[in-house]
Amino acid sequence: MKTAEETKAAIEAAVPGAGVTIVPNPSPSAQHSLRLDPSHAIAVAKFLRDDEELSLDFLSNVTGVDYLDKEIAEKVKVTRQVAKTVDGVEQMVEETVEETRKHVEPGYLEAVYHLFSMKKKHGPVVLRMRTANRTDKVELPSFTPIWRSAEFQEREIFDLYGIVFTGHPDLRRLLMWPEFKDHPMRKDYLEPDDFDYEPTAHDKVLERAKVHQGSSGGQQGAEAAR
């Protein structure tokens, strides 16, 4: 089987300007993945499936990952003109000051595909695609027309992460009801506040249950409800 580098080279030879980057996996498994550019992803996927040597004819798993917006603080040295009194005379002196600058790196949603070859008995080849952000530009091309087994799994990702797969034949929610508005597997998902009865609360549940204790919770709340 080809290594990630060889697969990348094969893709780039077949699909010009495919824009494949290797996402290294530092763990002992060294299962590096290939990050695809969404605009060329369909062509790349077709190549991976139909190529004689790779023939990745089986899509075993599709999953989603959520990366939150990251605030990065950097320390930068800045030289500034500062007024100072030296020997009784006011002078402008240059001084280097350390400043922390913060900038926000936008988060993104990621779809991960695991491909195997039934014909050649090899795999997995791991593909990743990232959306532009987490809010409005969440479209990714669907691989369902290429591997049929992606259908339900992409629906599940659409449901739980909110990635919109363009070209999917039947993109509806899979697990949650159609009226549901949130995406529960996103890291910033907040479950509805139904922690009014938690007899064995601890950790995060305890924190949320505490709000209900006192005036509105417990025995008094039960009596008020009756």
């Binding site: 949650m176 009801w177 009226e179 479950e191 509805p192 139904d194 009014d196 938690e198 417990g218």
Partner: protein, 204 residues
Amino acid sequence: MAADQDLKIELGKQGVFVTTIEELYNWGRRSSVWPMQFGLACCAIEMIATTMARYDLARFGAEVFRPSPRQADLMIISGTVTKKMAPQVVRLYNQMAEPKYVIAMGACAISGGPFKQGYNVLKGIDRYIPVDVHIPGCPPRPEALLQAFMTLQKKIDGQSLTGADRPRHLNAETNCEFPVPAQGDHDLEPPSNRLVWPLPAVTK
């Protein structure tokens, strides 16, 4: 108005059988509790095992699993109730004819169990419909379900047909219709039926 037990036995020895309408009525009710044929998760497998020859639910007159709620007396909530499924469960319960009973089977049906904090898991079906018997376990053994059946039979046997605590179907004033929760934008609405499930006191 139960007949004196000693007198009944004495009369029985003489070949005279004495009973009351209440006893006969409750005997009939408890000996033909027909469950509804419906399972929600892995507890349903244990429920099926209970009906098979080894555990033989037929001994309790409850082997006839009915595929229609109109013909069923007992709803066994056998498994996790998801928020997507909860309205259907309540609707099925509403469609059952009185007298009707509910057994909440297993940790999930009681409280959400191991999946309690899940985004799609109802924290116990007793938030929407009245539950007669709760059985803990994950899943409960068939013996535990039989125990629940016997507990339910005792409960039916103990009911008097008149008075304030008479069964719901003999009391014209009680409401037998339970509101079906709506699936809202973020959660079921309402999140619980306070008339069925007044907030239990948390004991520390």
